[in-house]
């Protein structure tokens, strides 16, 4: 019985650590400086991959850590994240450069997903480019962040458990204080009765 209780306590603590870790990651991303809605953590931009267009290089659900684009020269085979309009919605694509076009000082990039048969219809202009992928990716973390970072996901998976954990810790703390005061009182009673 004692063993089960101890195991339960350890599991609860592990769960609390995981929740605090996810809360910390989501909080950092949420509170990071945002440019055009894209989080920027000290020059690095975390992006959650939503489509299979770059598989098997980058998998759906991966979290990629990209470096903010600083107007540097880009080459064929570089993988970039950029804004694109798709069905009247501004989205972020992460695709590979397959051709660099220059004309009279104008540069544009023909891009294509590794898993796509054809290049993207619209060329990326320098102002559309957000960041450059340098190979850092964490499998599944993008998907987890999407869930934890959604309005209700964050509330149910982070805020509510943290609140319960806080109440539990408060309960434990108050219990320990009461225990301590009780022992103090008993000791005083004992010393007084000895005097008598």
């Amino acid at each position: 019985m004692k063993g089960i209780k101890k195991l339960g306590s350890i599991l609860l603590n592990i769960l609390l650590v995981v929740i605090i870790f996810m809360a910390a990651v989501v909080t950092i991303v949420a509170l990071a400086t945002r440019e055009e809605g894209v989080p920027n953590v000290m020059g690095y931009i975390p992006l959650s991959i939503q489509s299979p267009s770059m598989e098997d290089t980058i998998m759906t659900g991966d979290l990629i850590i990209t470096k903010k684009y600083a107007d540097e020269e880009l080459n064929v085979d570089d993988v970039i994240s950029f804004f694109s309009l798709e069905q009247d919605t501004k989205i972020i694509k992460t695709h590979r450069i397959v051709e660099v076009k220059t004309a009279g000082g104008m540069v544009s990039y023909v891009t294509q997903g590794d898993n796509n048969d054809l290049p993207d219809e619209v060329e990326a202009a320098p102002g559309d480019i957000i960041s450059v992928y340098e190979g850092t990716r964490v499998p599944f973390l993008g998907k987890m962040l999407d869930i934890f970072g959604s309005q209700y996901g964050f509330l149910i998976l982070v805020i509510v458990p943290l609140f319960i954990a806080f109440l539990y810790q408060l309960y434990k703390f108050i219990g320990l204080i009461i225990e301590m005061k009780k022992e103090q009182f008993l000791r005083e009673m004992q010393s007084q009765s000895k005097k008598v």
Partner: protein
């Protein structure tokens, strides 16, 4: 025992603080992320096809821009006057220019023994959610001289506001492109400063010219044809809502909307469909989108009704 107890209390206090901090910062993050500013009643997208790029500040070049880019062109263009009201109201113009801008007039109906119209000049254009019509600067970059056409899915559609029925506002919308000139590629500041003048070229396009409301047809509009209209050209009071031809000081017949794009505006074999021509460098174009109060589809009351518009503009070159 005492020492062990003290340690337990300290550990418990530490855990309490950790969860309190985690809860506070997580809650703050949740609230801040869920505070969204949306312009749900407005949607503008400008797209450029291969070989041309667009910008809202003549420095950051993109394949497409949205209303967010127009509202905030960035630190390079602090003095912009991109006017994007969240609601459009009918105004009128004949395409005359004043100080490098189109002249627009607003109308108010005065209900008395008879109903008359008072027209006043629209306020000076300013940045932000102000005014009754949209006006914004667009920069187009090209390496060669190109004639620019509109292409699918260019359109203006009406978005109902709070369940209101359309009064024909989308059928009365106009788009104008006012070419203010070209500056060399390495002079974005000069491009931003282009003010245009009377020699600048302009084009007014009526996207839904061949459609009319049932009311307009009853009033004499011919279905399937573009209707000329008497645009307002001066401020005035006590103006009649008919017999515009006898009030030539304040109204002028606009018979042609150039170019004559309405039948098949995306037909690139028709030179009339050229919206503007760009030369090598940065061309500054002032784009206007408004609801023409004097359009037959706008009914007799140009102060009546508000609506919101979704605009997609796509430029191509041959």
């Amino acid at each position: 025992m005492k020492k062990k107890q003290k340690q337990s209390i300290l550990m418990s206090l530490l855990m309490l603080l950790i969860t309190a901090v985690a809860l506070t910062t997580a809650s703050y993050a949740w609230f801040s992320v869920n505070e969204a500013v949306t312009l749900s009643n407005l949607d503008i997208q400008v797209e450029a096809a291969e070989g041309i790029q667009v910008s809202t500040d003549a420095q950051t070049w993109r394949a497409a821009i949205t209303v967010a880019d127009i509202l905030d062109p960035g630190p390079n263009y602090p003095g912009h006057t991109n006017q994007i009201p969240s609601q459009l109201k009918p105004v009128s113009t004949i395409g005359s220019q004043s100080l490098g801008n189109f002249e627009f007039f607003e109308g108010t109906l005065i209900e008395d023994a008879t109903t008359t119209l008072t027209t006043t000049e629209s306020p000076a254009e300013a940045a932000g959610d102000v005014g009754s019509y949209m006006a914004f600067d667009l920069f187009i970059r090209s390496a060669t001289t190109e004639d620019i056409y509109l292409a699918s899915p260019t359109a203006l559609t009406y978005a109902p506001l709070d369940g209101e029925d359309s009064v024909g506002l989308e059928l009365a919308t106009r788009v104008a492109f006012f070419n203010r000139g070209t500056q060399s590629d390495n002079d974005p500041a000069g491009a931003r400063a282009l003010a245009g003048g009377t020699s600048s070229t302009q084009v007014i396009w009526e996207p839904n010219a061949l459609e009319n409301t049932p009311t307009a047809i009853i009033d004499g509009a011919t279905a399937g044809t573009k209707e000329p209209y008497y645009g307002v050209k001066a401020a005035g009071t006590g103006l009649e809502l008919e017999n515009f031809d006898t009030q030539s000081t304040h109204f002028e017949l606009v018979t042609t909307i150039t170019p004559d794009t309405d039948a098949s505006p995306f037909d690139t074999t028709n030179p009339d469909n050229i919206i503007f021509t760009v030369t090598p460098g940065i061309t500054k174009v002032r784009v206007y989108i408004w609801i023409e109060g004097q359009d037959v589809d706008c009914s007799n009351d140009i102060s009546l009704g508000v609506g919101t518009v979704a605009a997609t503009i796509r430029f191509i070159k041959l």
